[in-house]
Amino acid sequence: MKQIPDKNITLFKSCLVSTEYPGIESSTKYVFDKTGIDYLVDERQTCCTGLGHYSDVFDQFSTTIIGARNFYLASDNNRKNMVMLCATCYAINKKVANILNKKDETREEVNEIFDKSDLSNMKYEKGSIDSTENIFHVVDILFNKKKEIAKNIKYDFSNFKIATHHGCHYCKVHYNDTIGGIRDPNIIDELVNACGASTIGWYDFKRTTCGAGFRQRFVNKDLSMDVTYDKLKALKNDDVEILVHLCPNCHVQFDRYQNYISNDKNDEFKTIHLNIAQFIALAMGADPYKVVGIQTHTVPVEDIVNKLETLPEYKEINEENKIGEENV
């Protein structure tokens, strides 16, 4: 398996995490701090263009320029290990690295744009960011810290029925770099296991897309929701209470639209949706509102949080400081 870093990391901001589920970023930082991961967030970094790119607004050349600028910032900070909160940032940046390293003509054209823009210092040097060696998803970094995660678990998720949804742009695009399986993806399942809980494993439609489909959610809504409905039905058949995600766009599709689909199809769904970093942070005892950000969710997470029980060895701590009590 490839080398997974735990230092010199740039934690790459995601537009959807920032504006829809900011608790994913604060939870990731919380878990990174607890497991000894050295990272930096650079305010100069911009969005990868992903949503606009896959809505066909951004052409590959413009996306490559934006990517090259963000690569420059990571190199400038001497933090070339770029770690993504979002599956689409992951896919986009790996693609950009491959283009810049393998397509000499395109790289020269990108560098000409930097020259023309008086930003020659940002020109990309072939090989400076490697798609496989330097670009990761948060789940990759956490996979390498399973033991440290296990040591920090305070709350018991083992009584819940849990399933996982692995974002397509993590598992299926640069699949040679994917950890934990492609046709039967399991990296999130393994991270849930590290928290002392188990998942239902394989289920019908486990591998299927969330249904967002970029443009489809907005201009082809029935088609988009039909695909999401397939997956929700499969989860309901298995009585899944918690679906654990790794991508904020999938998270939007399920959490924001689950009630809409329930009403539209006259079919009730009760599954709650958590990003894997939020899940681990809750299991470690992070405050649900000040760290995990459950107040930004559409399907309420409170039911689950209120049912969480402290592991016996942490019982005393819990008596003194009940989870998120001041905010409930």
């Binding site: 305010e43 100069r44 050349f61 695009v173």
Partner: protein, 196 residues
């Protein structure tokens, strides 16, 4: 299809293979029409989109595929890409076809609803969901979501997260880069229904 006896039927396929987006060793010419792509495709399951047919037309040099409505039903989920036995990627090829349609000036109406992605990037170097979709989302998702959106800065403060808007210097850099790359011109052409 129109027979083009004096032309190489692989012109279209070769043009796709030379595209900036085309991955190294993309197996387009190795396609054996097995149909794995279509059988695993969410778009094919719920609409008339058929990635196997799309690839067949490309290999026959049938350029009408660029104008087909069905190609806009691909979800860009890469399921086909991840299971193709010969390393083809209907998903990647689809993205290239849509860019061809945009370059020909025949896809402006498809792109216009999403132009705010470009506008926000040029003015604030941000991504995120375009506000043009907010009214419908507010209706579909509910008032709690809308209140959260209106209260985003406070929520972020509570989570000890700083501003998500990059500093002005970064915005200016990105703006300059996207003007010089031709991106601004491209989206203005699409907005004004012209050929980019």
């Amino acid at each position: 299809m129109d027979l083009k006896l004096n032309e190489d039927p692989l012109n279209l396929a070769n043009t796709i293979l030379k595209d900036i987006k085309s991955s190294e060793n993309l197996g387009l010419l190795r396609c054996v029409q097995c149909g794995m792509c279509t059988s695993s495709c969410p778009g094919a399951m719920h609409s008339n989109f058929n990635p196997r047919d799309m690839i067949e037309k490309i290999l026959e040099g049938d350029e009408t595929v660029i104008e087909e409505e069905d190609i806009w039903n691909c979800f860009y989920c890469y399921t086909c890409h991840s299971i193709c036995p010969v390393g083809n990627s209907a998903c990647e090829v689809n993205q290239i076809l849509r860019q061809f349609a945009i370059s020909k000036g025949t896809a402006n109406k498809k792109i216009q609803p999403f132009l705010e992605f470009g506008d926000i990037f040029l003015s604030m170097a941000l991504g995120g969901i375009p506000s043009i979709f907010f009214p419908e989302m507010r209706e579909d998702i509910g008032e709690d979501w809308w209140e959260f959106k209106m209260n985003l800065d406070n929520v972020r403060n509570k989570l000890d997260l700083g501003s998500y808007i990059p500093p002005q210097e970064s915005i200016d850099e990105v703006n300059k880069l996207l003007i010089n790359s031709g991106f601004e011109e491209r989206i203005e052409a699409i907005r004004n229904n012209k050929k980019p």
